[in-house]
Symmetry: C2
């Protein structure tokens, strides 16, 4: 069968079988029971099918299969089919989505993924470390260069723009790309370490592709995209473009408007996991379960699983973000394993000895965890880690 299967969370009670049947018909052939036999034969391959109905007394869970004959194989058509009108129809949340293999293969998945990004930077055996520019709004290119240099020298693997830094006269996109490349080339010469910089690709939708191609030409090493301010299909187009071919980092900005309610919208697993991976995100940021801006741990694990489980696509890097400091590294590795990116803003820049030391402290914490040392033991010989633990605490 060629189809897309969607699972919905609805309130318990009532005739859920009928509700599921109404969904399966209403979003496909419209009606069924009273159709003439000939029309039933004609429409059979277009009819939605109820796969499963559960009611545990608290929640109902409905699973419906939509034949792929009904929609073009693009994310807008699939979203409109499985959660278009239905998103407006009372209390209902889309909590799972899966494609039959032929449909899945219509989508690119990540061009690089975990393995490809590891190859770009030559790091294979540990979680990566990423840091974020701090307070760049209103600042100029000198500040940009200084911050990038400090973070990269400290030992991070990736640096990203803040998602609220757009193209602007003080730090224009093109200049960030060019100077970013120069600084990172210099760091590589000085330290032997290759670092990627994800520049925020922003502006009008129909300019993004050309802008990304130019960025590639100018030596960009990665792209940041506020995908939910655009559309998943835009991410896919960027990922598929043979003239771009840069790692794409998907930022979760605006996604909370779709995912935050328990009763409505789309689950984090589907939106940040299943769909971002299919559309081609190489790295996916999401709120870690540890900070102020936090997701429930089971939701973060579900995202990470959807990004890395065995499918037709390369795995994408999970990037649990927000509230991350070196003392959390043991917990991060326990929760997300080695194939994750440890992403910190304040946890790098807020280090008492500066951003370079902040980055170094993360690397020291990772080394400790991977050699089964306690952070506090490792900190005896590592001043940056010691200062970080004093600043933010941390056991393990």
């Amino acid at each position: 069968m060629s189809d897309v299967t969607a699972t919905y969370l609805v309130p318990s009670g009532g005739d859920l079988h009928k509700k599921a049947e109404n969904i399966a018909l209403g979003l496909t052939v419209g009606s069924w029971t009273n159709l003439p036999t000939l029309e039933k034969q004609q429409l059979h391959k277009h009819k939605g099918v109820v796969v499963d109905v559960q009611d545990d007394g608290q929640n109902g869970i409905l699973t419906v299969r939509y034949p792929s004959a009904n929609f073009s194989h693009d994310i807008p058509a699939i979203l409109t089919t499985v959660f278009g009108k239905l998103s407006l129809d009372g209390t209902i949340k889309l909590i799972d989505l899966s494609f039959s293999e032929d449909v899945a293969r219509q989508f690119p998945g990540p061009s690089f993924g975990i393995e490809g990004i590891r190859e770009l930077i030559g790091v294979y055996d540990r979680p990566l470390v990423m840091s974020i520019f701090k307070g760049m709004i209103g600042k100029g290119l000198d500040e940009f260069e200084q911050q990038l240099y400090a973070q990269a020298c400290g030992g991070v693997d990736l640096v990203k723009d803040d998602e609220i830094l757009f193209d602007n006269p003080l730090t224009p996109f093109e200049e960030r790309v060019k100077r970013g490349k120069r600084i990172l080339d210099q760091v590589e010469q000085e330290t032997g370490k290759r670092v990627l910089y994800a520049v925020n690709l922003s502006g009008r939708t129909y300019e993004l592709r050309e802008k990304a191609r130019q960025a590639k030409q100018l030596g960009a090493s990665a792209l940041l995209l506020n995908v939910f301010a655009y559309g998943l299909d835009v991410l896919q187009a960027l990922a598929e473009d043979p003239d771009i071919q840069l790692p794409i980092m998907a930022h979760p900005a605006v996604s909370g408007a779709l995912t935050a309610s328990d009763q409505y919208g789309i689950s984090n697993k589907v939106l940040l996991g299943t769909l971002l991976r299919a559309a081609g995100a190489d790295l996916v940021l999401f709120p870690s379960p540890y900070g102020n801006v936090a997701l429930k741990k089971n939701e973060t694990i579900a995202i990470a699983s959807a990004l890395t489980e065995s499918t037709v696509y390369r795995p994408s890097f999970p990037v649990p973000s927000a509230g991350i400091h070196p003392g959390l590294v043991p917990q991060l590795v326990e929760d997300f394993g080695k194939d994750a990116v440890i992403n910190a803003g304040g946890g790098v820049h807020g280090h008492p000895h500066g951003a370079a030391a902040g980055a170094t402290a993360f690397r020291q914490a990772i080394d400790a965890v991977l050699t089964n040392s306690q952070l506090t033991d490792a900190a005896y010989k590592k001043t940056e880690l010691a200062a970080a633990l004093e600043q933010w605490g941390g056991k393990g």
Copy 2:
């Protein structure tokens, strides 16, 4: 001041002034209090400003102004600024959004709007009537032509594709446009009445513009767009394109994932009203307050007001949809006035004498309301209306 002002609904209690200040700083310059004077001077024009904080004991309402120096003047940048990270930050809903006039003028608004669409069809003095194809999935072009002809002959002003009908081998986009034009030209010759057909513009984002330009060339009269499956900026690009210039009808598919919760996401007024109008939707569909798939009446009125109130843009047509039958026309006119589109699917096709009679019954109901007649009185001389009232009821 050049800025965007956003209003948020949050839970009552706690230090809401501090919360608002954290938003205003966190989404702009990052920090403030401890900055050196020189840096404060440099950053002053970038700093977010708390405009208002209310707490009525049930809800907190925070209003924050974001200087437009911080973002490029496109909807993705504005959405990411005002509700990017913030959408992920606990219980919070974006309930209002306004642009200073210079920012507002960066957006096109509708190319046609209410007046332009009235001119296209030569109808100035009454609500318009729209109907929807019924159950076209799995059906061919003959069925398409028959349905279009019946609906148009009955007296509707617009006919739209169902939003779940995508480009497909049985009724390809291009054929729907060409045959749609032929049928509507024929109806105009036969009846003197011009009818618009909104074809569902679907497929990959980066193909939409060219596809819409071709549709225009082939004689399309209007476009339907599942804008929330793409992105608001895509709608804007289509509205601005000088080679398209067709009325664009925005469908609310998927929008419920953003709007349905009382505590999270974005209000219907902002998403379906303010933003769709700024981006250039000429007609905006939303669930009426009367049917099964319904919005609260105050939400539908808020959408309609945002679409029609005096701004720098042309007004867009509100299109309350779902659950509409001729008996509801008095209520619709009372709630939405003359400048609205009365949109019916089942209320046209389910008429006991067929779709043409169903369309006619709507026109008869409108005539009655506009001449201050009771529907039941008018129905004495109008058999189509009489049959509709018998089928679905209706007072007034």
